[in-house]
């Protein structure tokens, strides 16, 4: 759901850019001096994986496609602060090199896809992973949180469009949510499958010390 230039009003672009910049600053501050060589490499490789996976649009409905976002998945593996930084970088590269998402809309895209999807999805993940024991809780939380984060981003995107006087919020919400529920289910399944493979290779992944989580 990369927003192109032209959809959003100048005010919405400015406000979301300020919020996104402040959040990036906060995340940089929070993570400074917190990662070792291996987690730096893991972060960069997950970023590469997210970029590649975002290219792979799959059909979800007649004439509609969706793709994996990976922001919640990154938050589960790296913690929300690093995930927000990483997804912001991916969005910046997509915009500058490939014209995917608008220049003026970059702050808004970081807000929806980087910040809102990550925080809302990670919150749901954390709730479930803390409630249900061990790796089973992590897997259930991963599926649910990943799906929820996509819906969170779709709601935020609808809100920004309505604030830009595209259409009233109630008109936008239903179609935006109903199409992104399907994309969210796919997001959940991809996250779940990838995480299950990681836990198969490295069952103690979440027990090994690796910064905040």
């Amino acid at each position: 759901m990369h927003i192109p230039d032209g959809f959003l009003s100048r005010e919405v672009c400015v406000v979301t850019s300020v919020i996104s910049l402040a959040t990036i600053g906060h995340c940089l501050h929070k993570t400074r001096g917190s990662i070792d060589r291996d987690s730096l490499l893991l972060m960069a490789a997950i970023g590469a994986f997210i970029f590649a996976a975002q290219m792979l649009n799959f059909p979800v409905d007649h004439g509609t496609s969706g793709h994996f976002l990976g922001s919640i998945f990154a938050a589960i593996l790296l913690g929300p602060h690093l995930a927000i930084l990483l997804v912001s970088l991916v969005l910046g590269i997509q915009m500058i090199l490939f014209g995917d998402g608008g220049l003026m809309a970059l702050g808004a895209n970081i807000f929806n896809i980087g910040i809102i999807s990550t925080l809302s999805g990670y919150f749901i993940y954390r709730l479930i992973a803390d409630m249900v024991e061990a790796n089973f809780g992590i897997l259930v939380g991963t599926f649910t949180g990943s799906g929820a984060g996509i819906i969170g981003a779709a709601i935020a995107c609808s809100l920004l469009l309505s604030l830009s006087n595209i259409l009233p919020l109630p008109t936008l919400l239903l179609p935006m949510i109903s199409v992104h529920v399907k994309i969210g289910v796919a997001e959940g399944l991809i996250s779940l499958a990838t995480l299950a493979i990681i836990l198969k290779i490295k069952p103690d992944f979440f027990q090994a010390t690796m910064g905040e989580r």
Partner: protein, 93 residues
């Protein structure tokens, strides 16, 4: 093999061999924009990126063009994340 090596390897495989065959139909937001008639508003061009729509204009073969863009973007993300991530590293004792 370490987890990060698996991710990087997987990313390159996906970018090189799978990205040319991705669905080209509009995404969720574009579908809503088309259905509700505000897609035209998104045709503003503020700048031209070097590889618009994940294509290299000099290469006429679309499959090759997209695959190369996939590798360029995947590599750029990995390298830039490493560079920007360096200041986040633990200080050595």
């Amino acid at each position: 093999m370490k987890i990060w090596q698996i991710f990087l390897f997987l990313a390159l495989i996906l970018a090189l061999f799978f990205s040319p065959f991705a669905a080209t139909s509009p995404d969720g937001l574009e579908t809503v924009a088309i259905d509700y008639g505000f897609m035209k508003k998104g045709e503003v061009v503020l700048f031209t990126s070097p590889f618009p729509d994940y294509l290299i204009t000099a290469i006429t073969n679309k499959t090759l063009s997209t695959a190369l863009c996939g590798v360029i973007g995947t590599g750029a993300t990995f390298i830039l994340a490493l560079i920007f991530g360096l200041p986040l590293r633990l200080k050595k004792h």
